[in-house]
């Protein structure tokens, strides 16, 4: 199996704090990695660096063996679903328009219908994007991320505004993408149970990487889970 992602000694310094400190891990092609960690653990910084939005880091990030600072080819291998899609509420774009924005090869129009059907949002294709619910929006952004057949899907899980039914559907979509279409998934989540059910690998991040390995190993180690939950809980209390 190829290394889909290879992160080596990744350090990101902000003026008063290290957001990430010497983080290294490898994601094999076909893996489903769940990244967990309390708020402020550096998950967003990690994603920003992987996506090319933050270039001020030490260390290296490689997609399919190529350093992202040296080759821009990686953009077309990645589909990205943001935590909170930001856009002008009145933006005159339909669901199809938004998915089409992601489409590199404009002759692949059929691909748009195909992906909308796969994600159960084909009947919404002519609706304005600002009229959708949180769960529907999330699926539209997954569709936009998938329309170029990326090899890696990176998702920042939304934490609010999504109903339980949509969350279940979202999880089943992820499972299918990984198991049937063999897409490598990197997914940041707050939901430990869901990570346990879906991901085959887990990375626990709190500025440094304090665990990375098979999810069975993580979830069968009560100490690790307890340690994570406590750190997370402390952060949670701290934030409220």
């Amino acid at each position: 199996m190829l290394n889909a992602v290879e992160i080596t000694n990744l350090t990101v310094k902000y003026p008063d704090v290290k957001a990430l400190d010497d983080v290294s891990f490898v994601v094999k092609e076909g893996d489903f990695l769940g990244i967990i960690g309390p708020n402020g653990a550096g998950k967003s910084t990690l994603f920003d660096s992987m996506l090319g939005l933050n270039t001020k880091y030490d260390g290296t990030i490689k997609f399919f063996e190529e350093d992202i600072k040296k080759s821009k080819k990686y953009h077309k291998e990645i589909g990205y679903v943001p935590q909170k899609p930001v856009f002008e509420k009145n933006f005159p774009a339909t669901v199809s328009d938004v998915v089409r924005m992601g489409l590199r090869n404009e002759s692949d129009e059929n691909k748009i219908d195909e992906i909308l059907q796969q994600l159960w949002i084909h009947e919404l294709r002519k609706r304005r994007i600002g009229e959708l619910s949180g769960g529907q929006l999330q699926r539209v952004f997954i569709a936009k991320a998938l329309v170029n057949n990326p090899k890696i899907l990176i998702l920042d899980e939304p934490v609010t505004g999504i109903d339980q039914q949509s969350i279940e559907l979202f999880y089943s979509i992820l499972r299918e993408l990984n198991s049937k279409q063999k897409i490598t998934i990197i997914w940041s989540s707050h939901d430990l149970d869901a990570v346990n059910q879906l991901a085959n690998h887990v990375a626990c991040l709190n500025r440094t990487l304090f665990f990375h390995g098979e999810s069975e190993k993580f979830f069968s180690d009560d100490d690790l889970v307890k340690q994570y939950s406590e750190a997370s809980m402390q952060e949670h209390m701290h934030h409220h």
Partner: protein
């Protein structure tokens, strides 16, 4: 009302130039409005006033100096805004006032206001020459081609810069391209509505079209149609009743906006 006016060649030139400018302003304006840059057209127009004054003083065709000054100052202000983290509305205010201030100082050097200045402030579409018409058509064609070629990149970076960057679109270059095209569009449109009313052509048809709740292409087509309607009807009415074309065109487009708001309040704009 007679159709005789449609046989005058100055009227042909006015209508052809007017339609081209209407289409151009509405599509470039749509991207500016969606980027919350509605007043940017206004700011470029005001900075072009400095350019026009410079041209009149130097004895150069004022629109050429206006193109130069507007585009350069728009690019500089964008750079300053990014570098010093000045908000969009404040940077527009800086650009707007510096153009007028420079213009006023240059004009007082050259001995005060003349009739030429007024035609640039309020437009003079019935006076466009054959050369002007050709230039307007050429620039409109060139900008429309650029927009068609880079349609996805421009739309995506207008929708969400961050995601556009992730998918490999050179967002900063696209932003400068839009500013550059806005500069050309504004100066080209000065002959139709003048410096003071340009932002109306950029903003009003688009705000109206967005209310119809359609997708991007349909919204752009609705906006262009409203814009062309206001310009054509505005030019004809202003000639027949001997009133200013610029004011008439802008009032007509405000009328369309008012009607649209009425239709919307009455609940007649159904969602799909």
């Amino acid at each position: 009302m007679s159709f005789e006016i449609l046989t005058y060649s100055f009227m042909h030139r006015a209508l052809i130039s007017g339609i081209a400018i209407a289409i151009l302003c509405s599509i470039v304006g749509l991207f500016l409005v969606l980027r919350r840059y509605s007043l940017f057209g206004d700011a470029i127009a005001h900075s072009s006033f400095g350019g026009i004054a410079l041209g009149l003083l130097a004895g150069v065709y004022p629109l050429w100096t206006a193109y130069g000054v507007s585009i350069i100052s728009a690019l500089i202000i964008t750079k300053i805004k990014d570098r010093y983290n000045i908000s969009g509305d404040a940077s527009i205010a800086v650009l707007l006032s510096s153009g007028i201030a420079a213009g006023l100082v240059i004009i007082s050097f050259s001995g005060g206001f003349t009739i030429d200045i007024f035609s640039f402030l309020f437009g003079s579409i019935l006076l466009v020459s054959v050369d002007d018409t050709i230039l307007i058509l050429a620039l409109t064609g060139a900008i429309l081609i650029v927009i068609l070629l880079l349609y996805r990149q421009i739309l995506y970076s207008t929708f969400n810069e961050e995601q556009a960057k992730v998918s490999g679109i050179p967002v900063e270059k696209i932003n400068y391209l839009i500013i550059f095209m806005a500069g050309i569009t504004v100066v080209t449109s000065i002959q139709l509505v003048g410096v003071l009313l340009i932002s109306a052509l950029f903003v009003i048809p688009n705000v109206t079209a967005i209310m119809y709740g359609r997708g991007f292409k349909q919204t752009a087509i609705i906006s262009m149609s409203f814009s062309v309607f206001s310009v054509v009807v505005g030019i004809l009415i202003s000639y027949i009743f001997d009133i200013t074309p610029a004011g008439t065109i802008v009032l007509l487009s405000i009328g369309l906006l008012g009607i649209t708001m009425g239709i919307k309040s009455a609940g007649l704009l159904s969602k799909n």
